[in-house]
Structure formats: C-alpha cells, structure tokens
C-alpha cells in the first residue's frame, strides 16, 4: 500500500518536474529571442547578467529538472527544436538576428564534430576552420558547376572528411603535443595555400548562389500566410535540422559501444588496447565523423553567406571553434549552444569589441582554463539508465 502510494507520489512529482523543465526551456527561448533581437548595449548586458544569475542560482535545483528531461530524450529534443522554431518565427521580419541564429547553429554543428574528436576520443584538432573551409570551397566549386544543392552539402562533408584522411596517418602516428602541431601546421597551410592560389579566387575569394532544394529557393522571402518572412527563415530551418541531427547523432554515438570505445581511448590508450579496443580504428572513425560535420556546416555556411574568402578560415578561426568547446564544457554537446551564442553573437552586437574579439577570446579561454577548466556545462559521467539520476 505505502509502496504504491510512494510510487504514485514519485510519478506525480516527476510530471511536475517535467512541467517546470518545460517552462524553463520556454524561458530560455524567450531569453534567446530577446538576446538576438536587441540592439541596445544596456539590454544585452542586462540579459547576460540575468543569465549568469540564473546559472548561479539555478545550479542547485537544475539537476532534478534536467533528469526529468533526460528521461524523455525525444521529447527534450523536440522541445528544443520547437523553441528555436518559435524564436525564428518571432524574429521573422528581422534578417540580421536570423542570420546570426543560423551562424550560431552552423557553428554548433561544426563544434559537435570537433567535440566528437576532442571531447570524446581525445584527438586534438586545431584545424577545425580548415575543414569548415574545405566544405565551403567544395560547395563554391560544385555549385558553380550546376551540381544539385543537397548533393553539394553532402559533398562538402565528404570532401572535408577526405581532406582529413590526408592527416589520418600523421594523427595516428603522433600524440599529444605532436598531434597538435600537425593539425596546427595543416590549419595554417590551408589558409596560406588559399591566399596564394589564384585558381580558387586567391585572397578575393569566391561568390556563391543561394541554396535551391528542388525548386525551394532559399533566397526568396517566405509567405507565412499572415505576413512575409525574411528568406533567412529557410536557412534557419535547414541549419536547425542539421544542428538537431548532429546533436542527436552525437548523443547516440556517445551512448553506443563506439562512444564507450572513444572514452576508453581518450582516458588511456594502452589500457583500451589491452581490452581489445581498436585504438586506431576508433581514432579514424572519430576524426572522419568530426571532419564530415565540419565540412557540412561549412558548405551550408558558404551558400548562406554567398561569399567566402581565405580569411574566413584562418588559424584564428580554428581557435574560435576550440574556444567554443572549452567555454561550453568539453565533451558535452549541450554546452556548445550557449557557448556559441556568447562567442559569436556578443561581438556582432557590440561593434566596438568586434576588433578586439580574438584578444578577448584568448583572455577568456585562459581565464576559464585557470579557474573553471570544466567549462560552463561540464560533461557528466554517463548514466547507465538514462534519467535514473545515478
């Protein structure tokens, strides 16, 4: 009797938790809308201060509601997607905030790729922007030759993964500092090569047309029935689909045997090999998957921007991608979204710090590593039963 009453009580509090968690997600959506829509420095500072306060004071209560969502992963993902959709509709007549939202979502895709490499498998990659750029340049070349755009996006990922396979041998044979050196050298080589190579547009870069999905022209304004929305809504839909897909994919990988193998390789290669895990195979899979995601994000980014140049893909940009990972909490795809928002949107909003952004990111990352190395949302130890609260 008492047992079943307790179970019922637990079930009721569980659905209560879920309701609170849903309300929290809605509040985050409202915050996101205000954050993207505002032009005033005061409002922006207020929003960031509010978020920081909510982060600090909500830390005690958050795990309970997080578990309520984690027990229903599908619902949680749909809730997130729905929230971003509502934000996009609310912003439908403001092209610039929509463009920023798309950029953030595409950087999320690329960073999830890097997260699989660095956060899960322990492979350092300081050439993220180079693989992003490989996707972008592939898109520019293929689209100019009349290849259908869905194929172009996919090819962007494939070519980036293929470019990455050039580095597989060096990355497998080296580790730690040496592997970092190899990717740094590749990252600088890539942008230097583009600068001096005239057949790819040289320093002036290349122009692209907008995406065309079998007649669905992305660069045309959308009729929503009661009003006309900026054409960037199309790109929001596509990049949101990619980001959600990448997120679910990363989560599935993490929970699979492959994810377990990645973790083992990161924590101790020799022990992992002793237990029969193919260290080389795990590294190759993680590296290729990560570069594929970077390339896909890069190809969509290129077509959305309509113009790409070598200085979009320099070593400094690779460091920005890594900064997002570190700020968000390495290994946790959920942390990437707030980190990308802060790192990409804040300098766009505050034009006076735009020039100083590389400097500020550098200082930010150094401070994080010295004082909170686990980032905003640290990765949790995996739950054996999702949502069990272990």
């Amino acid at each position: 009797m008492t047992g079943s009453a307790a179970t019922r009580g637990a079930a009721r509090s569980h659905s209560g938790d879920l309701l609170v968690a849903t309300a929290a997600v809605a509040a985050i959506g409202a915050w996101l809308w205000a954050f993207l829509a505002t032009d005033s420095v005061g409002v922006l500072a207020g929003l960031l201060a509010f978020a920081a306060a909510a982060f600090v004071f909500g830390r005690r209560a958050a795990p309970r509601y997080r578990r309520a969502l984690a027990a229903r992963p599908r619902m949680a993902t749909s809730l997130g997607v729905l929230t971003v959709c509502v934000v996009a509709v609310a912003l439908h007549d403001q092209p610039y905030p929509l463009l920023m939202l798309c950029t953030v979502l595409l950087f999320v895709v690329a960073c999830i790729g890097l997260d699989i490499q660095t956060g899960h498998c322990g492979l350092v990659n300081f050439a993220g922007a180079a693989f992003f750029g490989t996707g972008a340049y592939t898109a520019a070349i293929l689209a100019a030759h009349g290849v259908p755009d869905p194929a172009v996006i996919f090819a962007g990922g494939v070519v980036a993964a293929a470019a990455g396979s050039l580095l597989i041998l060096p990355v497998l044979r080296t580790r730690g500092y040496y592997a970092a050196l190899v990717t740094i050298a590749f990252g600088i080589l890539f942008s230097t090569f583009l600068e001096v190579n005239d057949s790819l547009g040289g320093p002036q870069g290349l122009k692209l047309h907008g995406i065309d999905f079998f007649g669905w022209r992305f660069n045309r304004d959308v009729n929503l029935g009661w009003t006309t929305a900026s054409f960037y809504v199309n790109y929001v839909v596509l990049s949101l689909a990619l980001a959600a897909g990448a997120f679910v994919f990363a989560r599935r990988i993490e929970r699979s045997w492959l994810g377990l193998a990645f973790d083992a390789v990161r924590l101790d290669e020799i022990a992992a090999a002793t237990f029969g895990i193919g260290v080389g195979r795990a590294k190759i899979i993680a590296f290729t998957l990560g570069n594929f995601l970077c390339g896909v994000a890069g190809s969509v980014y290129a077509m959305m921007q309509g113009f790409i140049a070598p200085n979009n893909f320099t070593f400094g940009e690779s460091l920005i991608l890594v900064s997002i990972l570190i700020l968000g909490g390495i290994g946790n795809p959920l942390g990437i979204l707030p980190a990308a928002l802060i790192i990409i949107v804040v300098p766009q909003k505050l034009q006076f710090i735009q020039e100083y952004r590389f400097l500020l990111y550098g200082v930010l990352v150094v401070l994080i590593l010295l004082f909170r190395p686990e980032g905003l949302l640290p990765r949790r130890i995996r739950d054996y039963f999702p949502g069990s609260g272990a």
Binding site: T118, V124, F126, L167, L169, P170, R173, T174, G176, Y177, Y178, A180, L181, V182, I184, A185, F186, I188, L189, T192, F193, V196, I270, F315, G316, L319, V322, S323, I326, E355, Y356, F358, L359, Y361, G362, V363, V365, V366, L369, L370, P373
Partner: protein, 306 residues
C-alpha cells in the same frame, strides 16, 4: 649551377638556420624542465622583435644615433623584456596548470600566442601592417662572382651562434646549468637535493625566452621588416626543429633548425612553383617529417613515461 649562386643559397640558409635554431633551443629547454610545449614561443620571438623596434624608435626620438649603442640597446631591451615575459608566463600560466591535463597547458599557451599577436596588432601603432625594421648594421659587402658576402648578415650569423653557444655553456658548465639539468632529469630528486624547483623553472623560461627575444631582433635586422604574424611560422618551425632533433636535447634542436633551413632553401630552389608557396611547402614538410619520425630523428630514450 654556378658555385657562387650555390654559395649564396648556403649562406642565406645558414642565416635562416641560426634563427630557427635559436627558437628551437627555447622549446627544447622548456620541454626539458617541465615536459611542456610553450606554443606561444614563436609569438615571444615576434614580441621581442617589436620591443626591439620600439626601443629603436624611442632612442631615435631621444637623439641617440651611435649605431653600436643603438644595436646594443635594442638587443638588450628585446632580450631582457622577453626574459621577463617568459618568467611571467611560467609563473602565472604554466606552473599553475601542472596538475591539469596536458591539453589545458597546450590550449593556454596557444591562446597566449593569440593574445600576444593581437596585442601587437591592435596596440602597436599601425601594427596590423608590416613594420620596416631599421638597418642598424654596417652594410658593406664583398662581391665574389655571383656570391655577395654581406657584412651585416655575417655579423648576425656570428652573433646568433655566440648566443646559442653561450646558452649551451650555461646549461653544461655552470652550477645553474647543473640545477636545470637535474630538474630536467628528475624533478623530485632535484628537490630533495635542495634545488628550488620553481626558481629553476622560472630561470629556464627566462633564458629560453631571452634567446627568443634576440632571435626576434636578428630576424628583424636580417629581413628589415617585421609583422605581427611572423610568430606562427617561427613557432611551428621552431617546435618541429626541436622535435626532429629530439626534444630535450640542445644539440638536436640546433641540428633540427639547420635541417629545416636547408629543406626550405632546397625547396625554394628545386620546386617549380613560385616563391609564394614557400610557407605552404614549409608547413607540408613539418607534417611529413612529423609523420615519418613522430619523436624525432634522434629518438627519445623513453617515448612515454608511465
């Protein structure tokens, strides 16, 4: 090929090799005492060049014109300034992260390099454009057929070699050097023997960074131009040179520096593409060499300490 032309290439290659070796020695010293790679080391070289340049401008404004005095002051300012920077880096960034994963040290130093680059780009007057570096050395030259023996380059080569030898002597022959080598070999035992670990680390970083500061001045005097982003290439090549020679060995670092200079010189002569691809080639060489010999030509005795 004409002997004179060949001699010219060798001469220029040696100059390049001296600069690379000066950078590589720093990497190898730091790795020796702390087992860390200071990825901002190349940017310390760049910062040294700019400190030297700023000193020159200040002296010019003050009306000091005697070339010998100016050269001496520029070199001292760069060396001492970077020694201080190196000690600060070790004290506030690298030592606090000793217990953290190596990845964090790697990131901190990478970001520090980015900070140094940006500081110069943003706050040095007109820093985002290449800055002319004054010709402070006597520019006499001797023509031997196709070979021009320039006095200033010769002075730079000799000065660079003297500094490398001096650092080597400090490490090999002095009590301080003994302490550095003791810490490099086994920091625990060194501590038991009464060696102040932290001070040795700071001094080592100061020495290596001072050498980098001099390298920056040598670079500026040789190319007569410095830019805020030269540190990236110098850092990557300096590190690769140190790795190729075997991290932790000073002779290896010098060897690696000259090897890289030789490869780059041969590449610029032998490759059928324009000289714009010089740096692309250098980075490709780095990747290929690292793949071929991941722990250097002179292999480490133990590749991993468990």
């Amino acid at each position: 090929m004409d002997a004179g032309v060949l001699a010219q290439y060798v001469f220029n290659g040696v100059m390049l090799g001296v600069i690379y070796a000066m950078v590589a020695v720093g990497f190898t010293l730091f790795f020796g005492v702390l087992d860390v790679i200071q990825f901002a080391h190349g940017d310390v070289v760049m910062a040294g060049a700019f400190v030297g340049l700023a000193t020159y401008v200040a002296l010019h404004v003050l009306g000091v014109a005697a070339p010998a005095v100016v050269v001496f002051a520029v070199a001292c300012a760069a060396g001492l300034g970077m020694a201080l920077v190196g000690a600060v880096i070790a004290r506030w960034l690298i030592l606090p992260l000793r217990a953290a994963p190596a990845f964090n040290t790697l990131l901190v130093t990478l970001m520090l390099g980015s900070i140094l680059r940006e500081l110069v780009r943003l706050f040095y007057p007109n820093g985002s454009n290449p800055q002319p570096f004054p010709r402070l050395l006597p520019s006499a030259s001797v023509n031997l057929g196709h070979f021009t023996l320039r006095l200033d380059t010769t002075i730079l080569i000799i000065a660079g070699l003297v500094m490398i030898v001096a650092v080597n002597l400090v490490v090999r022959r002095t009590r301080l050097g003994l302490a550095i080598r003791a810490v490099a070999q086994d920091s625990e035992t060194a501590r038991v023997m009464g060696i102040d670990f932290e001070r040795v680390v700071l001094v080592t970083f100061a020495i290596g960074s001072a050498l980098a500061g001099f390298a920056g001045v040598v670079y500026g005097l040789y190319y007569n131009e410095v830019n805020f982003d030269i540190g990236l290439l110098l850092g990557v090549i300096g590190f690769s040179a140190a790795v190729v020679g075997g991290l932790g060995s000073i002779y290896g670092a010098i060897l690696g520096g000259f090897l890289f200079a030789a490869l780059q010189t041969v590449g610029s002569v032998a490759l059928p593409v324009s000289s714009a691809y010089n740096n692309v080639f250098a980075f490709a060489v780095v990747i290929v060499l690292m793949t071929w010999k991941p722990t250097g030509l002179i292999a480490e005795r133990a590749s991993e300490r468990v």
